[in-house]
């Protein structure tokens, strides 16, 4: 292979553009934060911008991974933000009622209660979508709107502050010098990748997303697959809710996870999963979530005036989406990036048509 053909192969990889954008964003920070890439030991744990990005980005990665599978089946889950709030509210209000808030058994029980509630939300979403045949955007809108009210009902409209060392670990603590949340994210992402790419599950999810009726006719229980992905998505959101409430040691029914569903959908799209369903990339989603978190951090550090925050964010996201559009690249960069297979109907779609190529990263 020549150098150019190797380069072309590289730019054609479905994760090339998310990675390029992430590196670009990280580099933008360097002039504003000279030691941006430096990571040093403080109080027995690593400390630095990169560590903060991963720490604060963990909940978004989790929610986005769950969202990826839902979107792969051609659905969407708008309720994740509310599930984040409900889980955090239930867990924290249980812990705050305990005499000894640091008792391990109480913390585990509290987390269990929160996650069960998350799963119930997922079952409800899945039931409405798969069994009742309600449009996913409407079905999940119900919990998105009502769920936040439920969370506020649990917290009584107050911010519940807790003082529990073990609970603090999951979203704000450190283990082996690294933020503990990194390990949680790593386990969930690895398990999801194994289950979807080393077993037939991923293929089934994609076939349901490609054509639910056809899948049913060839013997795939598409309804069951759908319910499963909504439950999984809600579970991910639940864990994210634990992290968010643990990070500040407080449950804020009104603000916890507010708009996280939109960031998660954005992360999924930046990662190259088609919103039309039928194809997904977990690795891409993780990168997409990191891109969004880095973008947020960048806004804070480079001193964008608060009034223009959202404009700046929008401009970057538009640029990222355009860069990922084969049609746009062809127009701007000419023949260099022309590819044999173009996908005109899906502007943000990744390049490889066959999902099998995403098996190994």
């Amino acid at each position: 292979m020549t150098t150019t053909s190797r380069l072309r192969a590289l730019t054609r990889h479905h994760l090339f553009w998310p990675v390029a954008v992430l590196i670009g964003l990280l580099l933008v920070n360097v002039p504003f934060t000279p030691d941006f890439f430096s990571v040093k030991m403080t109080d027995g744990h690593l400390y630095g911008s990169l560590v903060s990005i991963v720490l604060f980005g963990s909940p978004l990665i989790l929610v986005a991974v769950g969202m990826t599978l839902v979107i792969a089946t051609g659905g969407i889950d708008l309720s994740v933000g509310a599930v984040v709030a409900i889980t955090g509210a239930l867990t924290c209000s249980y812990i705050s009622d305990q005499a000894d808030q640091s008792a391990l058994s109480a913390v585990f029980l509290a987390m269990g209660i929160g996650l069960v509630a998350a799963v119930v939300c997922g079952l409800w979403n899945g039931f409405l979508v798969a069994r009742m045949g309600i449009q996913p955007i409407i079905a999940t809108l119900i919990i998105m709107v009502a769920g936040r009210g439920v969370a506020q009902l649990i917290t009584d409209g107050q911010i519940i502050t807790i003082n529990s060392e073990p609970y603090k670990l999951i979203g704000g603590g450190y283990w082996l010098t690294l933020p503990f949340s990194i390990f949680v994210v790593a386990v969930v992402v690895a398990a999801t990748m194994l289950l979807t790419r080393r077993t037939a599950l991923g293929l089934l999810v994609e076939s349901v997303g490609g054509n639910a009726e056809a899948s049913r006719l060839v013997g795939i229980r598409s309804a069951r697959i759908k319910i499963m992905v909504y439950v999984f998505c809600a579970l991910c959101a639940g864990i994210a809710g634990l992290m968010i409430s643990s990070n500040t040691s407080a449950a804020d029914g009104n603000n916890a996870g507010l708009w996280i569903e939109l960031d998660a959908i954005l992360a999924v799209v930046i990662g190259g999963t088609a919103l039309t369903g039928g194809r997904f990339s977990i690795g891409g989603t993780v990168l997409g979530a990191l891109v969004i978190q880095t973008l947020t951090t960048t806004i804070y550090t480079i001193g964008v005036p608060t009034q223009t925050n959202l404009v700046f964010k929008a401009a970057v996201v538009i640029a990222v989406c355009l860069l990922q559009s084969p049609k746009f690249r062809e127009k701007v960069f000419g023949r260099k990036t022309r590819r044999k297979v173009t996908v005109p109907a899906q502007p943000v779609a990744p390049v490889e048509p066959a999902p099998k190529t995403e098996v190994s990263r």
Partner: protein
């Protein structure tokens, strides 16, 4: 107990006065059909929502003060939506309450419904936040805080904090703003800058300023980024306690001591803020008092009696330094 009795007497007095006024029509003030005949005064109150601990305390204060005053309170929660609030006010007009009070969700768009209230001769009192109207006579008065002044007070108390800490050299301030576009965020920044520009042009500088959306998570994340890009920050001014509490966690994670390496001044005075201050992590708190119920009831009575009231009745507020934290903590209700 004394105040309670006073209120009750006042309420009975108000009702009686209203009954008389029904005949006399003095001052051109409306008499309200339910006010007469010894019946209790009816107040229709429309709250913004229950978005924060501050707001919940505000609602509780209004409810308990109305109970103490012996007024009939019709309370509704607008859940942060103007249309809900407008329909609540229309309901109150239809029910012919004596006085309508509300905390407007947004600043504009109230002319139509306030004109309806005026036509029905029901006086309107605003609480906490103000509105922009084409006609000043559409509402009688505003009972609420002066956010700009809170900003000024924050700057003033920072002077004391710096003096106490024996700080020398340049003051590099990080500012955590409230939700972009919200009146408290704009005005608390404005008031602070006013004093800074007037008295400390050379030695104070706001090196970074960003919105933390009034939340703990926001404050923590933004402060973590600030500490990376500007490690030499030595003062934090947060527009509310919650963002300050979040920022404290970020400062600790960076291996610095909040309240010592970085001096912290916040606004609001919620209980958790006072707890942090009693632990030495916040240096000073500028109070923004949500407990305006008793003041509101007082105004409602005056308005009902046709007495003249000021256009803006400012809430009674004070500032707290660290050494007052422990004493003040048990008295914090919210």
């Amino acid at each position: 107990m004394l105040t309670r009795r006073n209120f009750l007497t006042a309420a009975v007095g108000a009702a009686a006065a209203a009954g008389l006024a029904a005949c006399a029509k003095e001052d051109g003030k409306p008499s309200g059909s339910t006010g007469g005949g010894g019946k209790a005064l009816t107040l229709g109150f429309s709250q913004v929502g229950s978005e924060s601990g501050w707001r919940t305390a505000n609602s509780e204060s209004v409810k308990s003060a109305a109970k103490e005053a012996g007024y009939t309170l019709k309370f509704s929660d607008a859940q942060q939506k103007q249309e809900n609030q407008i329909s609540a006010i229309r309901n109150y007009i239809a029910q012919k309450v004596d006085v309508i009070a509300f905390s407007p969700v947004v600043v504009t768009g109230w002319d139509a419904v306030l004109k309806e209230a005026k036509a029905a001769k029901i006086p309107v009192v605003l609480t906490d936040r103000s509105v922009e109207t084409s006609d000043d006579s559409l509402f009688v008065t505003l009972v609420g805080s002066d956010f700009t002044d809170e900003g000024r007070r924050a700057a003033k108390i920072l002077e004391k904090v710096l003096e106490k800490a024996g700080h020398k050299g340049p003051v590099k301030i990080a500012q955590l703003e409230g939700t972009t576009g919200a009146a408290p965020a704009i005005e608390r920044a404005k008031g602070f800058k006013e004093i800074m520009d007037a008295d400390h042009k050379d030695d104070w500088k706001i090196v970074v300023s960003q919105t933390g959306d009034f939340t703990r998570a926001g404050g923590k994340q933004v402060m973590a980024a600030f500490l990376q890009s500007n490690p030499d920050i030595n003062v934090l001014y947060a527009h509310n306690d919650d963002m300050g509490i979040g920022a404290i966690q970020a400062i600790e994670a960076a291996g610095k001591k909040p309240g010592k390496d970085i001096l912290i001044v916040t606004v609001d005075g919620v209980k958790d803020g006072f707890i942090a201050m009693s632990e030495g992590k916040i240096n000073a708190i500028v109070e923004c008092n949500p407990l305006l119920g008793p003041q509101l009831m007082d105004v409602v009575k005056k308005v009902k009696d046709g007495e003249k009231v000021e256009r803006w009745i400012k809430t009674e507020e004070s500032d707290f330094l660290q050494d007052q934290a422990k004493d003040a903590l048990p008295t914090r209700k919210y």
